[in-house]
């Protein structure tokens, strides 16, 4: 009896707190982030959690729109910059929207852009200098006009500068030492120019933003946004299922059924930047200066590709919506190859024939061997990744069926990273988050990256013809066929087996209308979501 009373009291407690919840015309969005937003400032803050909040506070000069093409001068939609025009092949002039204001009322000016550029190019503040290398200078040419000069002509100039630039308020930060901004009062309570104002941050718990009714592009349809911090994906799912949060991104296929069964939730999909692939190490795993005695032969690499049923592997780890790419291409780059690629299907007989042609014969235990050396390979992946473990186990069986023995060597993430950079492996089951720009292929696949000590080209793959095509594509007047040629060359050389390009599966409460989740910076359109009239919850009213 006493227990019943206690439980009754506990069930009444939410009512007590709900009545005190503040009213928010326009509605509320509660989103659980896997990374805590501790420093939501462009340039200064790192990581997804900070960037997601910064996107609501600080406008970019321009944003990508479907199909998210990054090449050309008409690919982006104006935001903070009302217009731009090309002066010559290396110069673009930008005009800041005269209506734009910082949330303290001060106009946004060209000086803010130049000030932010000075922070971006300060290595003490921003370690990502390689991305900015193509930009020669950024100069004020008037109170609201900025001239950007590039070191060379290339087709993604607009994307590189306009999408990457989120100005900070110079009038509030110019007197703060650049390396002290992270601990300044401004960092505790940022003042932006975006659709939402910073309201409060509760360490370890949340960041609350309120709609800025004076936002020059229109009053946000959502009254407030709460970015709560929940590191564990299962805990995020529980929060969503119990109605504590409204949105969950990157839903794993194993969670999809529970969400689908919930009447108040629905799925929205967006192209994901994630790419999963099995990277071949064509250098020896014991002597990284020597060729890999097994994988240097392209016939072996092709045979390993043909042995796999990649559709089944992708589905098993990422559900029906995942695609199987033919090159290092996530779904973000659909504008290059949509409708043109023909996938290589599993062909066990041809895989066996290729291996036989390469001199590998069946040994006593069924594993192929050549000159007494078995065709045995090591495959590394981080033990924390359930998806990659699923793929690794299934792929191991498929390779075994053609006589290739693959030893799975999962490791803690740190140890995995150390090992992949050491070169002591045969196959790396890798996952990357790609940038919207295909030009970033240079970082992981070019000969230049192969020769850099700390580059992400850990396989040291180098194909001069691929490099030539890559260089041509960055300056091509018609970039689509040029990028197709780049990806086709990669496909023909088999530097890796490209396994899955998943979608970003986002679960959203059904009470929202006009929901858009963007592929590169996913919450950029959040200010245009709205709560359907009549569907409001207590926290929306």
């Amino acid at each position: 009896m006493q227990m019943t009373r206690v439980l009754s009291l506990l069930t009444l407690l939410p009512l007590a707190t709900a009545t005190l919840t503040a009213q928010h015309p326009g509605g509320t969005v509660v989103y659980a982030s896997g990374q805590e937003p501790t420093l939501p400032l462009p340039v200064i803050g790192q990581g997804q959690g900070n960037a997601d909040v910064a996107d609501q506070l600080f406008l970019r000069l321009a944003v990508l729109t479907p199909p998210y093409r990054t090449a050309g001068d008409n690919a982006l939609k104006p935001m903070l910059a009302s217009a731009w025009h090309r002066v010559d092949a290396r110069t673009i002039d930008f005009t800041i929207d005269p209506r734009a204001r910082w949330q303290d009322g001060v106009p946004v000016t060209a000086h803010d852009v130049v000030f932010t550029w000075s922070l971006e190019t300060n290595p003490a503040v921003n370690s990502d200098q390689a991305t900015l290398e193509p930009i020669a200078s950024v100069a004020e040419t008037g109170p609201r006009t900025v001239r950007v000069t590039f070191k060379r002509p290339f087709s993604e100039q607009l994307y590189l500068f306009a999408f990457g630039m989120q100005p900070l308020p110079a009038h509030l930060l110019e007197r703060v030492r650049p390396d002290s901004i992270a601990t300044s009062a401004f960092a505790q309570h940022p003042v932006g120019d975006g659709p939402f104002r910073f309201e409060r941050r509760v360490p370890g718990q949340l960041v609350e933003l309120r709609a800025d009714s004076t936002f020059f592009l229109g009053k946000p349809a959502i009254g407030r946004v709460l970015f709560t911090y929940i590191a564990d994906a299962t805990a995020r799912l529980n929060q969503l299922l119990t109605g504590q949060t409204d949105v969950m991104d990157n839903v794993a296929p194993t969670m999809a059924d529970q969400i689908q069964a919930h009447a108040d939730l629905r799925f929205v999909t967006a192209p994901s930047s994630t790419l999963i692939y099995a990277l071949f190490n064509t250098r020896s795993s014991t002597d990284t200066a020597a060729p890999n005695p097994r994988l240097a032969d392209p016939r072996v690499r092709e045979a390993l590709l043909l042995a796999l049923d990649r559709d089944a592997l992708a589905r098993s780890a990422f559900g029906q919506a995942a695609r199987v790419p033919e090159a290092a291409q996530s779904q973000l780059w659909g504008w290059i190859t949509t409708g043109t690629t023909v996938g290589v299907k599993q062909d066990v007989a041809r895989a066996r024939a290729l291996l036989a042609a390469a001199g590998w014969r069946a040994g006593a235990d069924g594993t192929l061997a050549r000159n007494g050396v078995p065709l045995a390979l090591t495959l590394i992946y981080p033990s924390t990744s359930g998806a990659r473990h699923t793929i690794a186990v299934a792929a191991q069986q498929m390779w075994q069926a053609v006589g290739v023995h693959v030893e799975l060597e999962p490791a803690a993430f740190d140890a995995y990273q150390a090992r992949r950079h050491s070169g002591q492996w045969d196959i790396d089951l890798a996952a990357v988050m790609q940038d919207a720009s295909p030009a970033t292929l240079v970082e992981s696949w070019s000969c230049a990256a192969a020769h850099q000590a700390a580059s992400s080209n850990v396989a040291r793959w180098c194909d001069p013809e691929f490099d030539r095509l890559l260089h041509a594509a960055t300056t091509a007047p018609d970039p689509v066929p040029a990028w197709r040629a780049v990806l086709a060359r990669m496909t023909s050389q088999h530097p890796a087996i490209f396994l899955a390009a998943p979608v970003n599966l986002v679960a959203v409460n059904t009470r929202y209308d006009n929901v858009a989740v963007l592929p590169v910076r996913q919450w950029l359109a959040l200010w245009q979501w709205r709560v359907r009239p009549g569907a409001e919850l207590a926290r929306d009213r």
Binding site: S127, Q205, N238, Q239, A415, A454
Partner: protein, 323 residues
Amino acid sequence: MSGWLLRRTASAIATALAAAAVLFVLVHYLPGDPLAAVLRDRPATPDVLAALRQRWCVDCSLPHSFARYFGALAHGDLGPSPSENRPVAMVLAEHLGPTLLLGALTLLIDFTVGLALGLWAALRPQSRAARMVSALSIAGYAIPAFVVGMILVWLFAVTLGWLPPGAIADPLLPADAPTMTVLFDRLRHLILPLATMVIATIAVPLRQQRAAVLAVAAEPWVLAARARGVPPLAVAWRHCWRPALTPVVTLLGLWLPMLVAGTVFVESVFAWPGLGSLIATATEDHDVPLVMGAGLLLIVMVQLGSLIADLLYRVVDPAQRAA
């Protein structure tokens, strides 16, 4: 007493410094890229890479890094966290409170309810209820805490909807909500993680106390007291419980660090914004200064626990005071 306390405190500080030095050496030789937390797989130009290596002392010798770190530590500076881009002390301070709240309440319940149940079970060793309590506590101890947590969340939050599934507070609660509302809200959010922690840990003090009381109950002075007709409660309180406290005090000293580090999985299941999850994330991100700072905090907790245990020994054991 004050002389003893001074000597004991000095010894604790010396031990903590030695442990910190060992920790530093171990962290210095951790495998992995020391710049991983800074670069996060982004490309870096050679000059930026060189600047970063210098800033984070990547190529420094062990003695140089050691002198640099402990020199700053002497001024209370734990350095900046590369993954957070903020001072380590600030990051640790933000996460310490929730962990202490959960850990302290767990300890309080374990060492009040647990000890009481242990004493009660020892005084009725043959009763069915005592054996049941003992068996249930062992079952709770045997099941991993995160499994207990997930079951509780599924039952009380997802299925019944009585309690929130996690977090330390309702994010929708206004910042200026009345104190009582805030307290009720905290209580609701505390129930499931606290219950999980208690279920997973209460068996140890309970069984330790039960075993200690059973051992003491066979001592001649207890038998003599019973023979003199001292009431059973007085025998239990005066003659059994106090002498049986010594092993429990040892346990308390050992458990204080658990306040900080022992809640990793429970914090993860309940999205509790404490140090446990922070340490796990920092390790994953290879954030060496943050791992080192958290390690130092643990060392301090261990020494503090040990010091408190020694102080309590002197309270419960007159022989120690005399020594």
